[in-house]
Symmetry: C2
């Protein structure tokens, strides 16, 4: 057995452990009774230890060295080896006691945050957050040394392999410069017309679910390889051959579950389309969080909030909910689905203001990690940033720097992937429509096959063969460009 | 760390892997879309390999030797160590290539059997079954040598630790002697009265489910630590803190799902009542398949087919299904639930004829393993045994020696646990009623708390502290006695 084959065998085992953990996590959110939580935590912790032991086995370093000397590997195998090396570097860069300390600190901080947020008590969580930040800095420094990257990039590399702050700085600066003005113009324009009207419910859960299933099937979701269930926080989980998405239903507002399902279906189609020949190998995995988010946003934001799709779906909605009257007109529904508002809460934001929320967090977390911003000064910096970027100031920290779980749970350098994803989505959709003129007419009659076919070829089926930047350039003919996202926003929100 | 503590840590990991596998198996049967099967098989195979590697790690043998020299262990720890040794002996007794060959042969044979059974073609599966038998004999010999038991007992020990053929022979001989006459008398007595009438459906699934949940709660099933779902073959799975039982619904016959749920709830209460302080340790596990089956049969057969319970449940059933008239009288329902008939199929058998089916299989599998019965002669021996024990001869092998999956799937020495379980159930229920006179009046008003309390103390909470024979003797004051089961049958089916 060559060193490379040996590694494939080891990573195949790792992949299967990861799949098992993925299914159990789905179960925790979608099926598990509350009394099962403690045992489940033990099961998942055990799988994590087993995976970590397999990845950091003393033989793996030597095998990687030896395999990298092999000259009989094809492009997929070389890419697989590159991803193995990357996973191994991350797993071995940080001493076990620091990993453990960080994990405990994050878990403790998250517990405190769960009470501090509703109590609007940033002071209560400050010490725990400071501790998480301190340990994260240590871990980032250790990873930076091994990966040959800056500390922030070393953290970013866990979520978005190969991403560079210089590129993100450029992209975000370009957006940040134009966003405040753009938001103002969109709001002025909206204010000139009467507001859209919310169709009145109730919308029975069973009808919402039947509609969701019907649209998922149209999008190309294969129920022989997946399920739709309910959980408190919607997500896409499971494995490529058994994709489990979830939503939650509100009987007074069908759009929340529906848009959530379309979003998660975008994630699901990506997972399902990953290269079958590379299941449970690193190169067969999704390319990173930004590309993953691009797939959900491409479906939800680019395709399904388009005027074309809304024209198709309006009569489907009327039929599903026995709706009639002007509230159910495609034009009214389109204006509802593209409504813009300055708000305090990121997860409720529309696609025009969302990037402003993300850019704020990106700037703040870089300053926190660099030591340029003290934890005590976070609320003030948050509010100042909100004023500059979104144009409003939160009345309290609950609606300010306490709103997101990420930092309190130890996830630094994750936020930029949301807006990178939105930009990638716009660029891919733009390229896809130009590459295949059948895509938009397809969407207009609820036929997503042409779009899915383009995505399968250019994104899904590539797995982790290419770094994200190369993947995007290969698919669209140019590097990621903030101007395309800006044009998308202007086209949708300002054009006649 | 002492050797014992080291072992506890290793077995805790094994226990967590086993729990993870248990949840994934439940998911496979109750949730998984068909397209997920291949990936799931890989996940489960990986967990199995990880567990096997942990159990057969070179250090474990030395640790067991060292721990057995420790004189600081209490009774639970010593019992835990005894069960660790037993698991380790089973795992290390058979060479890996033989384990692998047997697993492949069984899997292949099962595939062939799945087609041979509906085709009534025993000849088609004969070569594969012969191969399974041959490899099973080899494995049994290897285990026998390590465990110091006979080959059949070495196999039996996997399912029913410590069980001895001499004792089973005695118990079964006593039953076999009286059964043909008993069956005849019960049937004569039944024939003297008009047959009971089946209440007419349809019985909507949602109502059946609501009824099942209501009765499960009465029995003491805690939905904060468990679920009820649907699967093709009902079972009890999951883990002690998250017990997942399943059933299947037939809208023309509510009794099938209901009795199945009561049966699985008996299993579930056992799992849930296992000693919490010993979770994920061998001594914290259920005591074996016979005791497990005793818990399901105690609930289903002893308690819930009793006249007392039927009086309680009859109005509940009438309310659940808006039933009225003589079909819904407690007396008619009781006669339905205690109907006896000679039949060809074990899984459809009543509690009077069931032991005859099991004794037949026990005799045949012992003869097959000993080489006293050739595979080619199995159909003839089966039919002769049916004539002697049940009093009828199957018209074909489909309803004869092809009916059960067990042997074709490599499970020899499992069958006796069914009837041992039925005998244990009768003896435990008899003892419980004498120990606490509140038990039967409780059941008569749908209050299972007194019964559950006795079971928690005397069976569930003991885990694997004692060998099964000692557990039964401690709980009932005497060794397992076939006369008690016979008295139960005579009391229910022949008394006035």
């Amino acid at each position: 057995m060559t060193a490379y084959r040996d590694l494939e065998k080891r990573f195949r085992r790792l992949g299967a452990i990861g799949e098992a953990a993925g299914m159990l996590q789905w179960d925790s959110a979608a099926q598990m009774p509350p009394g099962g939580a403690e045992a489940r935590a033990e099961q998942l912790a055990t799988l994590k230890v087993l995976a970590h032991e397999a990845l950091t086995h003393p033989a793996v370093g030597d095998l990687l060295d030896a395999a990298e000397q092999q000259n009989d590997l094809d492009a997929w195998q070389r890419a697989n080896l590159r991803e193995m090396r990357r996973q191994w570097l991350h797993a071995t860069a940080v001493p076990a006691d620091l990993v453990d300390a960080l994990s405990r600190a994050a878990s403790e901080c998250e517990q405190i945050w769960r009470k501090a947020r509703p109590a609007n008590d940033f002071a209560a969580v400050m010490p725990a957050l400071s501790r998480v930040l301190e340990l994260t800095r240590e871990a980032a420094a250790a990873k930076a040394a091994r990966l040959g990257k800056s500390p922030y990039e070393a953290l970013l590399d866990q979520y978005e392999p190969g991403a560079e702050t210089a590129a993100i700085d450029r992209l975000f600066a370009s957006l940040a410069e134009s966003l405040p003005d753009l938001i103002g113009r969109v709001l002025d324009r909206q204010a000139a017309a009467p507001p859209p009207r919310e169709p009145a419910g109730p919308f029975p859960v069973e009808r919402q679910r039947a509609l969701a299933v019907r649209l998922m099937e149209r999008l190309g979701f294969d129920f022989a390889h997946g399920r739709l269930d309910v959980s408190l926080h919607p997500f896409c989980g499971g494995t490529p051959d058994d994709v489990r998405i979830t939503t939650r239903y509100d009987e007074t507002d069908f759009r929340q579950a529906l848009m959530g399902v379309l979003h998660e279906t975008g994630h699901a189609l990506y997972e399902r389309g990953l290269p079958a020949a590379w299941r449970r190998q690193p190169v067969g995995e999704a390319r990173g969080m930004a590309v993953h988010e691009s797939q959900s946003l491409l479906v939800e934001m680019q395709a399904c909030r388009s005027r074309e799709f809304t024209e198709f779906v309006a009569p489907v909605l009327r039929e599903a909910f026995a709706g009639s009257g002007p509230d159910w007109d495609a034009d009214n529904l389109y204006r509802l689905n593209t409504r813009v508002a300055r708000g305090f809460i990121r997860v409720d934001a529309d696609e025009v203001t969302y990037p402003a929320h993300v850019i704020l967090r990106y700037r703040l977390e870089r300053a926190l990690l660099a030591g340029d911003l003290a934890v005590a000064d976070l609320p003030g910096a948050w509010n100042a940033g909100m004023r500059d970027l979104v144009g409003i100031v939160p009345p309290d920290d609950r609606r300010g720097c306490l709103q997101d779980i990420h930092w309190y749970d130890g996830a630094f350098a994750y936020f930029p992937t949301y807006t990178l994803g939105a930009m990638i989505a716009a660029q891919l959709f733009d390229a896809a429509k130009r590459a295949d003129p059948a895509i938009l007419p397809g969407i207009a009659r609820g036929d997503f096959a042409p779009l899915l076919s383009w995505l399968r070829t250019n994104i899904h089926g590539k797995g982790s063969l290419l770094p994200a930047a190369e993947l995007i350039e290969a698919a669209t003919g140019r590097p990621l460009d903030a101007a395309i996202y800006r044009r998308h926003l202007e086209g949708r929100y300002l054009a006649a």
